[in-house]
C-alpha cells in the first residue's frame, strides 16, 4: 500500500480499506432467515386479527380501495347531520311535515274510486 503519495487521511482510508478486505464475510444462517421471516408472519397475523385490522377490513368492505379516513368521514358527517336535525328541528314541525296522513273511510259508502271496470 503506497500511502506516501496521499495526504494522511486518504492514505489511512486506503490502508483501512485493505485491512477490511482481510475480514471474512459474515454468513447469514438459514436459522436467522427463518427467525426474521417468522417475525414478519407474526406481525402480519397480529395486524390482520387485531382491532385495527378488523376496522381496516370493515372499511375495505364498505368502501373498497378508499383510505380509511373516507368511510370514517362519511359516517361522522351522517351522524352529525342526524344529531343536528334531531336537536334543532321542533318536534311538532317534524310530525306535521311527515308524510303520514290519517285515512278516513266511510264504511257504508260506495267507493268513489274507479279501478277501471267502467271504462
Amino acid at each position: 500500500m503506497e500511502e506516501q503519495n496521499y495526504p494522511d487521511g486518504e492514505a489511512d482510508a486506503l490502508w483501512l480499506a485493505g485491512m477490511f478486505r482481510e475480514l471474512p464475510p459474515v454468513p447469514v444462517t438459514p436459522a436467522l432467515q427463518a427467525r426474521v421471516l417468522a417475525s414478519f408472519d407474526a406481525v402480519t397475523e397480529r395486524r390482520r386479527t387485531g382491532l385495527r385490522g378488523l376496522l381496516r377490513r370493515l372499511g375495505e368492505t364498505v368502501w373498497p380501495g378508499a383510505p380509511a379516513w373516507q368511510p370514517a368521514a362519511v359516517l361522522a358527517a351522517s351522524l352529525a347531520i342526524g344529531i343536528a336535525a334531531g336537536t334543532f328541528v321542533p318536534v311538532e314541525q317534524a310530525l306535521a311535515d311527515g308524510a303520514e296522513q290519517p285515512g278516513v273511510v266511510a264504511l257504508d259508502a260506495l267507493p268513489n274510486f274507479d279501478l277501471g271496470e267502467n271504462s
Binding site: 489511512d12 483501512l16 482481510e22 471474512p24 459474515v26 447469514v28 408472519d41
Partner: protein
C-alpha cells in the same frame, strides 16, 4: 432520487411475504455484518438484526417515502440496537465485560482467531463505540459521509473527526500488518 426500497416496504406493510423476503435478501447481510463488527459476537449480532427487522415489519405499513432513505433508517435502527447492547454490557461487571469482548471465546470464531482477521476485529472492538461505528459505516459498509452522519445523528464535521481519530488509532495498532 427514487428510493429503490419504497415499493417493497409498502408491499411488506400490506402483508406481502415475497416483498419481505426481497427486503431481507437485500439488507440482512449488510446489517448482520455491521452488527457483528460492532458487537464482536455472532449471537448478539443476530439478535440485534432480528430486532431491527421486527421494528421494520411493525412500521412498514406507516413508512412515508421521501422523509428519509429507507436504508439509512435501517442502518440507524441497527446501530441503535447495537448501542443498546453495548450499554447493557458496560453496566455489567468489568470482568464479565472483558470475557464478552474476548475474541477467543465464541466457538464460531475459532478459525478467525489465529490470523490477521482476529487482530483487526480485536482492534476494532477496542475502539470507542462512536469511532467504531463511524469507521464501519464509512470504510466497511461504504456509506458516504453525509449518510453516515445522518445514521449516527451527528454533523459531518463531527463524523470526520471520529473517522480521523479512529483511523489513527487503528493504524497505530495494526500498522505492523501492512507488511505481512
Amino acid at each position: 432520487m427514487i428510493d429503490p426500497d419504497t415499493d417493497l416496504v409498502a408491499r411488506a406493510g400490506q402483508g406481502d411475504r415475497t416483498a419481505a423476503q426481497a427486503l431481507m435478501a437485500r439488507h440482512l447481510p449488510k446489517m448482520l455484518t455491521l452488527a457483528r463488527r460492532m458487537l464482536g459476537d455472532a449471537a448478539e449480532a443476530e439478535d440485534a438484526v432480528q430486532e431491527t427487522f421486527l421494528k421494520l415489519w411493525t412500521h412498514a405499513s406507516r413508512w412515508q417515502p421521501g422523509k428519509a432513505k429507507f436504508e439509512t433508517w435501517l442502518y440507524r435502527v441497527t446501530m441503535n440496537k447495537c448501542y443498546d447492547r453495548l450499554r447493557r454490557r458496560s453496566t455489567a461487571k468489568l470482568d464479565e465485560a472483558a470475557e464478552v469482548a474476548d475474541p477467543a471465546l465464541p466457538a464460531d470464531r475459532v478459525l478467525e482467531n489465529a490470523g490477521v482477521a482476529a487482530e483487526i476485529e480485536k482492534a476494532l472492538a477496542d475502539l470507542p463505540e462512536r469511532q467504531r461505528a463511524a469507521i464501519l459505516l464509512c470504510h466497511h459498509q461504504e456509506c458516504g459521509n453525509i449518510e453516515a452522519a445522518e445514521i449516527l445523528g451527528i454533523s459531518v464535521e463531527a463524523l470526520e473527526s471520529l473517522l480521523a481519530r479512529g483511523r489513527r488509532t487503528l493504524r497505530a495498532r495494526l500498522g505492523h500488518l501492512k507488511n505481512e
